[in-house]
Amino acid sequence: MKSAYIHIPFCHHICHYCDFNKVFMKGQPVDDYLDALANEMKLTVKPEQDVFKTIFVGGGTPTALDERQLSKLVESIQELLNFHQEIEYTFEANPGDLSKEKLVILRDAGVNRLSFGVQTFHDELLKKIGRSHRAKDVFESIENAKAAGFDNISIDLIYSLPSQTKEDFIDSIKTALSLGLVHYSGYSLIIEPKTVFYNLMQKGKLPITSEDTEAQMYDTLIDQMEKHGLHQYEISNFAIPGYESRHNLTYWNNEEYYGFGAGAHGYVQGLRRANYGPLKKYMEPVNNGDLPIMSEHKVTREEQMEEEMFLGLRKTKGVSIRHFAKKFGINPTEFFAEQIKDGIRKGLLETNSDQIFLTRQGRMLGNEVFQSFIGVSNH
């Protein structure tokens, strides 16, 4: 059973916080890119063996493609990837980009999950962070999506945005919950280099949210979600039971996945791989029958164990002791005895008969725990 991430690096607008691989769409060789993407899938996938349980098309902005381009993309995917009958097939969508026609194209191609980049419901803030959509677009898009038959819909929210108050964020949570969706993601803003925000910050022109406010926002998010029956299954993800994103869980479960497209990351046969980001660098090898791999790292057994921990602990369920022991032939409570004991002593970790997992406080301070599992085997 396989998973695939497919990257569409085109955007009509670039958000002030985004450091993903992306370009302004205008004047780009979109069709050539879609061809190259198909070539890469052809080169990589073995149709007899590879049956896909999850596909996630992200960006950039996949919905920036026009109807013809979108059809071309989903047709390639349908042709080249063998779907499991219970596939989770997600498209990332920008509110306002999804016309009724596009929704039909996606639905007919087997897409069964949509993830909208809403970020906040405050139009002023949306403007400030460089988003092109407005709150009303969200309501409309979701209504249309539901009408087109999509019931597995998620939205992303971002907190600790510049000048965002705690009240602003609570408003956004409430509005989001009023939509009655099955899945929500809440991310905290990280200022990354090579973004508009980073440059503003360097000049001292970006109001930075304090750690205390950010913590309160995160606390509130967890509380509000739980109150409405959306349980936290990962640091940033909340779902009605049964609607957890299976694609994202492959990451946290430390399972393998393909990464297709410019700048995409994959984990295949024990190798963590990154594709070339620039379109030309990506397309050239692919069109010559070569893989567009920029870097590749063979994950050692020790690294695998570390990753099993720091990825697995992101899930509220945590890491299964039995599963770990079966996978690596050693009990994690033995291999990481010191780290686990220390985490428990600090009130950040807890264990039961089979699971090692973060406490509520541990979820707030996850990095403190994750770090402790890194580089252990080198010493």
Binding site: E211, Y218, A274, E307, F310, R363, M364, G366, E368, Q371
Partner: protein, 611 residues
């Protein structure tokens, strides 16, 4: 070689140093002299060749001494052997300057044609005159638009009292006047006077450790001759060795048959032990050696002390090795083991000044790859106890209970500052703030003033020089000398983190400033110590009395809650970076404290000045 040959050769030797204020063009002049004497081909020529350590280049200062032998064909047709001995250019290194000067018969004094004499230059010229050196004045940078050579000529005559009528007008940068300088070196600086047949007397003015050859000692032969195979004795330590190599720097190390009275060069003798060569010692023959050692070399005591601790406690022995290696090249460095409750095992180290301390610290981190915690610098206090006994305290945490102390005395310096008269107010204000006592003020000419204060050394070692520079837009120059101890109302300020006293953070402060400083330091520490998983109270206390407090809030959120997609490597890197940052912190009790926090006491004046 016969006695006559040796004496004849000796009469053609000229040993000299260059004295200059920083930025007045010493390094450029040294380069030009090397060029003019063809010591180097153009390809070998690197800018500022004598400053060989990276650190020196970066900071634009000379720390280590270097000596180089040059051949110069003078206008009279004779060929002369020059030994140019480089001198350090910072106030912390007065001692090293005195060592190199004692190996010379003359000095070239370089003064900037626009800026004139600076306090630092003045101090070094007096050192040279005290050593009976012949001075060759050079007015440099005459090609600059604001050059005023005649004013500077007068200044040299009036301020120093030298005859400057023949001072060379030069521009080292443009290559003007270089030959004239070389001619004056031949004419004015006397040849060395030693007796080549007398028992060997060679002065060690520097040394460095070479992994293959052992200790390389830089020497000036005063009397006698030394060659390979000679049995020699170090007069201070009494240790004996057999010479394995003698040579000169051209500037490459080049072996020679012998070094004679008057020569400057190096020798190796399979000396392995760091303690066997003391800079300032006299080398003589093992048998029938000189009776009396050479005078003049006086070991200067460190003025500033601090604790150096490895962050990784397992590196204590590595740190000892590093200090031993550095000590070999740096006779002013002192260290002995000490223990801190907060920091574990480390060393209390003595330095000539703050710059010296920073350089050693940086070299240990850079060359020996040991991450360090440096405690705030301290001077040596004389503590007279109620029972009449007297103790010396170089570590603030060792200051006894106030009840047992009769009085505390602290070292004072005479500080001489020179600046344009517009800055007199700023300088006086700074000196008052630093508990200075006004001594004298004199006008050098219509626009330049020489100001003298007596200031506690402890105030100087912090950031006095930096503040002086910034308060006078860099125009003031500064020199100081120790003048002795005076009683002061001093108290020990302890710092408590999470209710535990951290000995490494204690400092000594004047009673009148104690409250204010306590307040500043707890705020500063709050800035410097990152949030921990629990709230950490910070308190400043004198004895049992808390004089200031502040609180580091508990860490509230530290979890990557960003959508990273499948880029796990990036996530790993981020966590690795966070972990790496932690490794550079010291666990003190239950609190993780970064390096900078231990120097917080130095940063207090940032706030102080802003206020």
């Amino acid at each position: 070689m016969s006695r006559e040959d040796r004496l004849n050769r000796q009469s053609k030797i000229r040993n000299f140093s260059i004295i200059a204020h920083i930025d007045h063009g010493k390094s450029t002049l040294a380069d030009r002299i090397l060029e003019k004497t063809n010591a180097l081909t153009a390809r070998e020529m690197k800018d500022q060749l004598l400053d060989s350590m990276d650190l020196e280049r970066e900071r634009g200062i000379t720390i280590k001494l270097n000596s180089v032998q040059l051949k110069y064909k003078a206008r009279n047709g004779e060929i002369y052997t020059f030994h140019l001995i480089d001198t350090p250019g910072h106030v912390d290194f007065t001692y090293e300057v005195s060592r190199s000067l004692a190996a010379c018969e003359g000095a070239v004094l370089v003064v900037d044609a626009a800026q004139g004499i600076e306090a630092q230059t003045l101090a070094n010229v007096y050192l040279a005159i005290d050593n009976n050196l012949e001075i060759v004045p050079v007015i440099n940078k005459i090609d600059l638009p604001n050059a005023d050579p005649e004013r500077v000529r007068n200044e040299i005559e009036e301020v120093i009292g030298l005859d400057a009528s023949e001072a060379v007008l030069a521009s080292a940068k443009a290559g003007i006047g270089i030959e004239e300088i070389l001619e004056q070196i031949v004419e004015k600086i006397p040849a060395p006077q030693g007796d080549p047949d007398a028992p060997l007397k060679a002065l060690i003015f520097d040394s460095l450790y070479d992994a293959y050859r052992g200790v390389v000692t830089y020497i000036r032969v005063v009397d006698g001759t030394v060659k390979v195979g000679d049995k020699i004795k170090m007069m201070a330590t009494g240790k004996e060795f057999e010479v394995t190599e003698v040579g000169v720097f051209t500037p490459k190390a080049t072996p020679v048959v012998e070094l004679n009275a008057g020569d400057v060069g190096f020798l190796t003798a399979a000396i392995k032990n760091v303690g066997d060569t003391t800079v300032g010692d006299t080398i003589t023959n093992a048998k029938n050696g000189a009776v009396e050692a050479l005078p003049g070399y006086r070991r200067l005591n460190p003025m500033v002390y601090c604790g150096l601790y490895p962050i990784d406690t397992a590196k204590f022995n590595d740190l000892r090795d590093a200090l031993e290696k550095l000590e070999l090249n740096d006779s002013a460095l002192q260290f002995e083991p000490e223990t801190s409750q907060a920091l574990g095992f480390g060393f209390r180290c003595g330095f000539l000044g703050l710059l010296h301390m920073e350089i050693i610290q940086e070299r240990i981190e850079r060359e020996f790859k040991i991450d360090l915690i440096t405690t705030a610098p301290s001077v040596i206090y004389d503590v007279i106890m109620t029972d009449g006994t007297e103790i010396k305290v170089d570590n603030p945490s060792n200051l006894p209970d106030p009840q047992k102390i009769n009085r505390v005395e602290e070292p004072y310096v005479k500080a001489t500052m020179m600046a344009p008269n517009d800055y007199v107010g700023a300088i006086m204000e700074l000196c008052q703030e630093k508990r200075g006592i006004f001594i004298d003020m004199q006008y050098m000419d219509e626009s330049r003033v020489n100001i003298v204060y007596e200031i506690p050394l402890s105030e100087i070692v912090y950031d006095f020089f930096d503040q002086l520079k910034s308060n006078t837009k860099g125009y003031a120059s500064f020199d100081y000398e120790l003048i002795g101890y005076k009683p002061s109302k001093l108290v020990k300020m302890d710092i408590l983190l999470n209710a535990e006293k951290v000995d490494a953070l204690s400092f000594i402060v004047h009673n009148d400033f104690a409250y204010e400083r306590g307040k500043i330091i707890v705020e500063k520490l709050k800035e410097l110590i990152p949030r921990q998983q629990f709230e950490v109270p910070i308190q400043a206390a004198i004895g049992q009395k808390i004089v200031a407090r502040s609180t580091i809030k508990a860490m509230r959120k530290n979890v990557l809650a960003k959508c990273y997609g499948g880029d796990i490597s990036r996530k790993r890197k981020l966590l690795e970076k966070q972990k790496e940052g932690k490794k550079r912190m010291k666990q003190v009790g239950s609190v993780e404290v970064p390096q900078e926090a231990f120097m917080a006491v130095l940063k207090m004046d940032d706030n102080h000045t802003k206020k």
